[in-house]
Subunit: 243 residues, 2 copies
Amino acid sequence: MNTPIVILVEPQMGENIGATARAMSNFGLDRLRIVAPRDGWPNSKAIEMAAHGAFILEQAQVFETLSQGLADVQYLVATSAGSRELEKPVVTPLEATAIMRKELAHKHNIAFMFGCERSGLSNDQLVLADVIATIATSPLNPSLNLAQAVAVMAYQWSCSVNEVKPPKPRGMRASKVAITQLLSHLEVELEHAGFFKVAEKKKRMLRNIHNTFIKASLTEQEVRTLHGVINALCDTKNDQKAC
Amino acid sequence: MNTPIVILVEPQMGENIGATARAMSNFGLDRLRIVAPRDGWPNSKAIEMAAHGAFILEQAQVFETLSQGLADVQYLVATSAGSRELEKPVVTPLEATAIMRKELAHKHNIAFMFGCERSGLSNDQLVLADVIATIATSPLNPSLNLAQAVAVMAYQWSCSVNEVKPPKPRGMRASKVAITQLLSHLEVELEHAGFFKVAEKKKRMLRNIHNTFIKASLTEQEVRTLHGVINALCDTKNDQKAC
């Protein structure tokens, strides 16, 4: 059966990458992606900590940027304490893994994403997620070790063995790269139209629009339609230019 | 509220004792007992790995023998892959923590027990338990790291305790009429732009765009932003008209 990908974003310590691989292998996950590991790759400390999970490190994919690591991902769960700024659904690990079971019925690449040890996922990284899974922790010590967080999510995944009825087929979900391209298309046109009057607000506005796209769970067809919508509004403009 | 005790039996590595304390503190457990730690006590590597869970190490109780460590324990859950020899009920972590919740209602000292890294709990140790909790693992790598096993049980415990967190407040959801008005705004502009080349497809295309808006669970703020996006693209056009 197809299983979720685990994506570590800018992990700092090899030990945690290794412990992640070990926990993944304990719970039947084997698709690891590592984005911009601080200490390069391969990492001997990771191999040491992985124990019998070392095979996962051997077949891990390493990317320089998060957008490369997410390019073909169709559904993304960010593991995070959450964001006060972003409009993003927040669920428990139990709920997240139930959703992922359903998503896997008609998508190939669904993923868990984990941020770096020091600070977790930034808002710019969180915005890419379809949903945020928050592991409830004690206020006395809310900060989970990275590999422990992976272990908890992987454990919860392995518990979600209840058979899930596949939902009725729907259009193929757009990939993250398709969404990013759509956003870029819109950004260019909005820039041209003078939409971003206050320069320092631009990044945040784009992030919010990006989030709206993500929330819509856009299909490939919908992305094409939205490109068409933007083009149509701008073609008129260009026609007028030509005149 | 009273919480379960965590008992590590003959742990070998200070790092795992520390990571155990960290995971315990993450999930609201604070009663640690250590039986015959291989490298003595205190252990600097344990303190290092415990991070903000170090307070649990400071108040941990250390015993020379398991029978001393268990003397006042009234209900004991052994975490183990199980035993072929012993007649002992085997339950999942979910079932184990549900039982423990009930036991805590009328007992003070209930405990999780974990064996050493190399070989887990022996039959002589397992026999002391009321029940065995087995964390199901993959045959590819069945052996869990000690602290990961503690984290999984502590997480499962916290799930059985924590009331489901209310989802964080989010922006006011846009009304259906606000969505319809947004769609109308876009329709007018698309009509003007000649987007609907085939008249009989217009209704269906608008319905699909409408559906995209609905799927996005738009907030009032997002609807305002999207009106702004459409206006921005059209203002340029109008400016050019004016010229």
